[in-house]
């Protein structure tokens, strides 16, 4: 028995021809977040703290589909989801449809710890975020030029990700799932 940690930044159609400018920053973020998690575990932080803090870092990376850098809806908006769960107590919290919360994972933890519920969505989740004083940002903070281009390409190819697989060429080898 000993500590262990794993993290991911999404799965899907990731072409082996993924350009270096898309591959390197993601690998660097994975390494940095792994080091952060190891450091937190070694310092005695609880696993619940560790997973929240690591995911917060991943949410800050515009190259991953969460927080800043989230992909866009058909209307060009951002609607994020997050969930956190403690193994021993099996307490959990989740949010969906948040559009201005910088760290949805921390809002999910607040749902778990500060409400009698375990899942808040859309206007209710946004209103709860305001009562908790969590960090809020303009919607433009979350939207990257890269994701605007991806939405444009998806609309041009009439793909919704549900039933049309973009080729690696169409999406520059980037995953469009997960």
């Amino acid at each position: 028995m000993g500590w262990a940690i794993a993290l991911h930044g999404g799965a899907g159609e990731i072409s082996r021809s993924l350009p270096l400018d898309k591959k390197q920053p993601r690998e660097a973020t994975l390494r940095r977040c792994l080091d952060l998690g190891i450091s937190l575990l070694k310092s005695g932080r609880t696993p619940l703290d560790v997973v929240e803090l690591v995911v917060r870092e991943l949410e800050c990376c515009p190259h991953f589909n969460a927080g800043r850098g989230s992909v866009l809806t058909s209307d060009g908006t951002v609607e994020m989801e997050a969930c956190i769960m403690d193994g021993n107590s099996q307490e959990c919290g989740a949010v969906s449809g948040v559009s201005t919360v910088v760290h949805p994972i921390s809002l999910a933890r607040l749902v778990m710890e500060k409400t009698p519920h375990m899942y808040l969505a859309f206007d209710g989740a946004e209103a709860f975020a305001r009562t908790q004083g969590v960090e809020i940002a303009e919607k433009s903070y979350f939207i990257t030029p890269s994701n605007q281009e991806r939405l444009k390409l998806a609309k041009q190819s009439k793909s919704s990700d549900y039933n049309t697989e973009a080729t690696p060429t169409e999406n520059e080898g980037d995953s469009h799932l997960g």
């Binding site: 990731i14 991943l58 997960g178």
Partner: protein, 131 residues
């Protein structure tokens, strides 16, 4: 999607997942990995965070199935995770998981998965594709 699972030296487990969903999804769509039991689940045996096509992950209750196979069939973390990934729609699903014993696994059936892990005994891995 991003996610993290962790276990401390005392076997305490936790999981977290966060996502923006799918490109060009309908406004109001809920249906990705941060659904409790579907793409994110933890109990006293393991902690799991999944990634991939949300609708598949929800329909197949990926994260909860890993825990259930360990609980009801006595599978190891690796066997339970591989069983779930093998039986999931091909190309749609990946997951990361740790057990209370400090095991770690990161299987996927898609082309790739951005992933990293480390254990107390010094093992460390950062990868994208299967090799």
């Amino acid at each position: 999607t991003v996610g993290c699972v962790a276990v401390d030296a005392n076997g305490n487990l936790a999981t977290a997942t966060s996502t923006g969903g799918l490109v060009n999804k309908m406004v109001g769509r809920i249906g990705d990995t941060p659904i409790i039991g579907a793409g994110t689940y933890a109990n006293a045996l393991c902690a799991v965070s999944a990634t991939g096509r949300g609708e598949s992950i929800i329909k197949h209750t990926i994260a909860r199935d890993v825990a259930a196979l360990m609980d009801y069939k006595g599978f190891s973390l690796e066997k339970a995770s591989n069983t779930v990934i093998t039986k999931s729609p091909q190309g749609d699903v990946g997951l990361i998981a740790v057990s209370a014993d400090g095991e770690v696994t990161m299987p996927f059936n898609s082309t790739g998965m951005f992933r990293a892990c480390a254990t107390q005994d010094g093992y460390r891995e950062v990868g994208i594709w299967s090799d």
